[in-house]
Amino acid sequence: MNLSPIEITNLVKKYGDVTAVADVSFQMNPGEILGLLGPNGAGKTSIISTIVTLEKPTSGQVCVFGHDVSKEPRLTKSLTGFVPQELMHHGYFDVEEILEFHSGYFGRLKNKEHIDYLLKRLGLWEHKNKKVKQLSGGMKRRLLIAKALVHEPALLLLDEPTAGVDIELRESLWDFVLELKAKGLSILLTTHYLEEAEQLCDRVGILQKGELKVLGPTQTLIKDLTQREIVMSFKEAAPEIVSHFLKEKKADSLVFSVPAKMSIGELLSSLKIDLVNLKDVQIHEGSLEDAIKKVLHA
């Protein structure tokens, strides 16, 4: 039996009168990176919080590897690593002590080899004797990731892991996430950086006001939900064309907006343009951002 790392069924989470998550259901595929996207307040963090039992569902069921998180929380937590959105301090303890304690909470009191690996892999080795308040924002973020991986989980939950992180570190974290995926980890990611989602996620789900509007493979969603913009430049004046794909006419160029699935050949043959007069063709593919805008503004 091939069990889903996360299976959410009719999840509802309310805070008083406010519905943060409204009847959301989805399944994660083993070994994939699934991105949850959406504006602030869409319900991304609430969903992750119910998976790690920080919040109780108002109704619905959340399962991790087939186990209900409400009924077998210790088992599901043992399989899960969680990187929260907000940074934390840890008071009097240094980086190495924090990882040792966190490892112990998962039952691994002697875990020096793996802790040393994480410290080195995440660039924290030189800072292992520093207190958290002495670390930069990026280092604090890496410490959170090290904590989440200290017990070698099978499922990793990343709640905006690169928020407030510089470009160089962000890209190195992306590489690390892909490395974890290659090792077989299933990863659920929320992010506001759409480039991050486009590069990392096998599938994305778009949330709005607590509802899961759409979920599917990233590239398929982009193709299904976006338009390609095709700009044709001409040697002489742009020809008179009647087409519902025509978006804009300039003196020597025409701008078309066509479905992402439509090829340039199909457009040209439908327009019957004199190719001798055609000087250049530029194609601008739709992006994940365009896809999200279309879903959110539908």
């Binding site: 088992l75 875990n111 299933s186």
Partner: protein
Amino acid sequence: MLSRRFSMPEVQARTGDLKFNPFWALYIREMKRFLKVIFQTVFTPLINASLYLLIFGLSLGKSIHLANGLSYLAFLIPGLVMMSVLNNAFQNSSSSIVSGKFAGDLEDLKVVPLSSNQIIWALSIAGLCRGLFVGLITFLVGEIFYFIVENNLLTIANPLVLLFFLIAGGLIFAQLGITVAFWAKSFDQVSAVGSFILVPLIYLGGVFFSLNGLHPFWQNISKFNPVLYLINGVRYGLLGRCDVDINLAFVVCLATLILFFILAMRALKYGNFTRW
């Protein structure tokens, strides 16, 4: 790639022993936490206890004569020892949780496979250890004062009884600290419980005065204060004499321990781990 249902033994084989290790990790963390700020957690209470002994034991004590023939200094020492244990046990567990809420790392305890039982016992035994540590130092300082005044040392009359009441009292107050801190929504609420409830209960529990010296009305009121039995239990263990029936003190102490354990469990279930 992992994509199947796991049994608990399989999970423990992947991670580690979840029966004892998570508890031990949290207990060690709590011990290290108060030892890292030992001047604040141990030596400050020690100064306070020394001042009490100096002012009440040496100066005012000379003019206080107890009905049972005990010197006031001997009467005071067990009270101060227990006061140190209770205060420090409460402060250790409550400040750990409250500072965790402030720093945000209390949420860690919610997302790791620590059971409520493990959290309560790790926090309360660490609180007890700090309480006993400060209590022992208070006792040693008391012995020095006693030796100066009486040219003799206090001997422990009932060591097992003493140990029982010290341990039970420390655990009760550490679990009270857990309960209050998990329910609290601000620093103010924790300090209000300390100032308006605990300090009066401890001070009116017979640290500084004998129950027999009170008006019968206040004697009856005092009998509803569980701290009275804790302090008198320690006094019986140390001196072999106290103001209450020691059997009743045992019963009250055990009942209070069970009550506060239940309250701490409920606080973990219904209180909040979220950051302030």
